[in-house]
């Protein structure tokens, strides 16, 4: 699970020593398990707009304790700041300071969520200033939160209600233990599309999903998480990884498809397999990726081209086949795995960062095309995740890399997988063309 250091300083004498020495004290994060309550403790909904009222009423129907005004000294599960109608930076003061008064009552693993609108769609400079102000406010607040608490924001496009399906879906995701390593991030809801699941523990029931690179690491965990959420799976990996792929497939009752995704006909073979064996194809998770790290001065053609080929060119080619297929027309979902390397850059990873930057560009440009078919395409950008791959990073470098975020620890493959499962679900039907970071609010490349 979590790393040794985090366990050591979580309780007992280690905790006291770390505190005295001023060492980082990462908390054990609240992670989702089926059947788990959405949240422990009441939710305070701050804000006085009609949207805030409606949202508070909706949250009541989730069996949450909802407060419009905090009870003094009551421990809270979450604070939701509804700022959907701010027109001037001065409008932030009242709800923000009201929330501030409750911050010390937030339980470990608590949540702060802002609900606001994107500055790009503001009607006046003052409104844009207020909206953009939320961005800076939330990101700073997230860095102040402790004990595994996180702060994230939902951005609602003009005309999208705080109670629209994907607004509720995103709020539910941020409140839950599914988002434990997502911190200081905004997720934009661009339309009122989407639907909340009938069974919140099986949000992917009835869906057929393909996961590439599923033989190990994050891919294997994505398979487990999608399976747990009710999906029927096709797991893809290169033929040479077939032994591990078969083991994962047998664990999650999937069919294994040994396939090199960089083959010209990979997209068609994926579609054919899914349709023949499972009758349809709803979700494709582009997870397969490789690293061939080298300083650019030492970069050779093989390292560069193999990374570009597998990490982005293959996704582009497969998407072309998917979008041309009559079998990928019913609320299709594509989720790609990008990387914070593609956002912030990483020494020795020019090829990898180019490919992952490419993934984000591809996702944004594909969104309108998939959207026209009633579907969505989004990406997750993992930060430092504890995998076999990161375990090979030299100790000191690794230790720095995993602590340099607001949660002071590396994420787990399951954190990436939970975010992908959410983006693949109907609840995220109004979220399209987004890149959501799963990085614990990495201190670089924000």
């Amino acid at each position: 699970m979590t790393d040794t250091y985090t366990r050591l300083v979580s309780d007992g004498p280690g905790r006291n020593i770390a505190k005295k020495l001023g060492l980082p004290q990462p908390a054990a994060l609240r992670r989702y398990e089926p059947g788990q309550a959405l949240l422990t403790g009441p939710v305070v909904v701050q804000g006085s707009t009609p949207g805030a009222d409606k949202l508070a009423a909706e949250l009541l129907s989730w069996d949450l304790d909802v407060r419009r005004h905090p009870v003094p000294a009551e421990k809270l599960g979450a604070i939701i700041l509804v700022l959907d109608e701010v027109e001037h930076p001065g409008d932030l003061e009242k709800p923000v300071l009201a929330a501030a008064a409750s911050l010390r009552d937030l339980r470990p693993g608590g949540r702060v969520i802002t609900v606001s609108r994107p500055a790009s769609e503001a009607s006046s400079p003052a409104a844009a200033a207020a909206r953009q102000g939320v961005d800076g406010f939330l990101r700073s607040l997230a860095k102040e939160l402790r004990a595994g608490a996180t702060g994230n924001g939902v951005l609602l496009a003009n005309g999208v209600e705080p109670t629209s399906p994907s607004s509720l879906g995103a709020i539910r995701f941020f409140l839950s233990g599914r988002s434990s390593f997502v911190d200081g991030q905004f997720l934009e809801v661009s339309s009122a599309a989407g639907a909340l699941p009938a069974d919140t523990d099986k949000p992917l029931a009835g869906k057929v999903a393909v996961v590439t690179g599923a033989a190990r690491g994050i891919g294997a965990q994505i398979a487990r998480t999608l399976y747990r959420d009710g999906a029927t799976l096709v797991l893809v990996d290169i033929p040479a990884a077939g032994e591990q792929l078969a083991a994962v497939a047998n664990e999650v009752r999937a069919t294994a498809l040994q396939l090199d995704i960089s083959a010209a006909d990979a997209g068609q073979r994926i579609i054919d397999h899914a349709v023949q064996r499972h009758g349809k194809l709803d979700i494709v998770v582009h997870n397969a990726g490789i690293t061939r790290d080298k300083l650019l001065a030492n970069m050779d053609q093989a390292r560069w081209s193999s990374v570009i080929n597998i990490n982005i060119a293959a996704q582009l080619r497969i998407n072309e086949a998917l979008l041309a297929s009559e079998h990928f027309r019913s609320s299709p979902r594509i989720v790609s795995v990008a990387s914070t390397s593609g956002i912030a850059g990483n020494r020795g990873q020019t090829n990898y960062a180019a490919s992952k930057g490419g993934v984000m560009g591809m996702v944004r440009a594909t969104a309108p095309i998939v959207g026209a078919r009633g579907g969505t395409i989004n990406a997750v950008a993992p930060g430092f995740i504890e995998t076999e791959m990161t375990a090979r990073i030299p100790f000191a470098v690794r230790e720095i890399a995993r602590r340099l975020n607001s949660l002071q620890q590396g994420g787990l493959p399951s954190d990436v997988a939970e975010t992908i499962a959410f983006l693949a679900s109907d609840a995220a039907g109004g979220i399209n063309g987004e890149v959501l970071r799963v990085c614990g609010q990495n201190l670089v490349g924000a």
Partner: protein, 452 residues
């Protein structure tokens, strides 16, 4: 037919006049094997049970058979530890299949895998089962080593002894030589000759040239390498223990390299010895499985249907008295099978003749092309016929892939089923394939598959 052996028809005559009409089809859904490793190689520490379980798990993953109760699983091994009396059941229990899947072990030397396919296909045709997995596994690396007969008798007698003096008396019978372990032999018990030495006699009898044998071996390697390069095995194989291709495959071999090898069998023939390590199969470890089903069972699960198991025939020859070569039984089985199906060699699109030795295949073809043999031994009017060599072992066979005895049948059936499915109907008829596997003890099993 008389029960008096002397008046029975020769091995070339049809075994029976009529065939029982099949009630329904048995279809081949697909297969899975692990890459075959040279003995002492990647699977040196893997048991038969490990390898068979791995081959099953890959099949289960490919076709989504997790927790499925298969009608019956039939598999076996030739080199088998006594503790593995329930080898297949133990492998199934260790796999992702339902623990309520019944199994049986079987053993028919190198024909084990093919006989498992035939047996389960027959059960499906008769309606006794809806699905079956046929398999085979062998480890030449993890072979049983047994104690000497002298030591074994002493141990058993000790077990029965009641008093200390009795025990001491029994122990005193023990001699140092009794303590030497016995490795499994591959020689025929009734002749004392190894399979290679037997084949060397046949090779000489049919005057099979060294060059012809080397050429067949070269084709086997080239064809198998090409099949790998084209991704042909991507849905027939699951890697195991780091091996992703057959360990015996030599993609870069050449006639020059093969010609440089010294003969290893038939050396008593002197300059006429032709059989080398290059044109004989090596000892190999590996496992293979084939998924068989009724149409209904496959359709209900949206599974592919590659080919149907049409018919099969077994034969045996009297090699003990030198009447026929040890590995020549298929020479008799194939004419009987084709006659029953009213087919000729020209009606077959693909021939899969197991390459125990290159010379085995070539001796078989020579016998079929021989006028006198056709008349006197097969009971035909002349030669049985010749085959289009471009249809023979087109994706390679045992010389390149290796030959883990009981696994070879499954390897061939799954490979052929995929080839037939890809070829499909032409000239208004399905593609047909013939499988021929020779086996120790002068036996052979052959079968016809048909594309779906």
């Amino acid at each position: 037919m008389s029960i008096d052996g002397q008046s029975m028809p020769g091995p070339g005559a049809p075994a029976r006049e009529t065939s029982v009409p099949a009630t329904r089809r048995a279809v081949i859904v697909g297969g899975n094997r692990i890459p075959f490793a040279r003995a002492g190689g990647a699977y040196a520490k893997s048991s038969n049970q490990d390898m068979l379980t791995a081959a099953l798990d890959g099949l289960i993953a490919r076709f989504g058979l997790q927790d499925e109760r298969i009608g019956q699983v039939a598999a076996g091994a030739v080199l088998k530890h006594s503790r593995d009396f329930n080898l297949t059941r133990e492998a199934v229990l260790g796999s992702a299949l339902s623990a309520e899947t019944p199994v049986y072990d079987l053993q028919q030397a190198c024909a084990t895998g093919l006989e498992a396919v035939v047996g389960l296909a027959n059960k499906i045709k008769l309606g006794q089962i809806e699905s079956g997995i046929a398999g085979g596994v062998d480890s030449a690396s993890d072979a049983p080593v047994v104690v000497s007969e002298g030591l074994r008798e002493v141990i058993l007698d000790l077990n029965r002894a009641k008093t200390l003096p009795q025990r001491l008396q029994i122990l005193s019978r023990l001699r140092p030589k009794d303590l030497a372990p016995l490795a499994p032999g591959t020689s025929e018990p009734r002749t004392g000759l190894s399979m290679g030495e037997h084949q060397a006699l046949t090779t000489a009898q049919w005057k099979i040239a060294r060059e012809a044998q080397d050429e067949l071996a070269l084709n086997s390697h080239r064809n198998l390498a090409a099949a790998y390069d084209s991704g042909f095995f991507d849905d027939l194989m699951t890697p195991y223990r780091g091996l992703t291709r057959d360990g015996n495959l030599r993609a870069d071999t050449s006639m020059e390299k093969l010609a440089g090898l010294k003969p290893v069998f038939g050396r008593s023939l002197g300059a006429d010895a032709t059989m080398t390590a290059g044109n004989s199969t090596p000892l190999t470890d590996g496992a293979a499985t084939v998924l068989l089903a009724s149409d209904e069972w496959a359709d209900a699960r949206d599974l592919p249907k590659l080919a149907a198991v049409v018919d099969a025939e077994a034969a045996a020859v009297d090699f003990v008295h030198g009447k026929d070569g040890l590995l020549m039984a298929p020479v008799f089985a194939v004419p009987r099978l084709l006659a029953r199906q009213k087919l000729t060699l020209a009606d077959i699109d693909y021939f899969e003749i197991h390459e125990a030795f290159a010379a085995t295949v070539l001796s078989t073809l020579a016998a079929w092309e021989d006028e006198e043999f056709g008349r006197t031994r097969l009971g035909l009017e002349g030669a049985f016929g010749s085959i289009d060599r471009s249809r023979l072992n087109v994706h390679g066979s045992s010389l390149a892939a290796g030959h883990p005895f009981a696994a070879t049948g499954g390897r061939i059936v799954a490979t052929l089923a995929k080839m037939l499915h890809a070829k499909g109907n032409s000239d208004g008829r399905p593609a047909r394939g013939l499988v021929s596997v020779c086996a120790a003890g002068g036996q052979g099993v052959v079968a016809i598959l048909e594309s779906l």
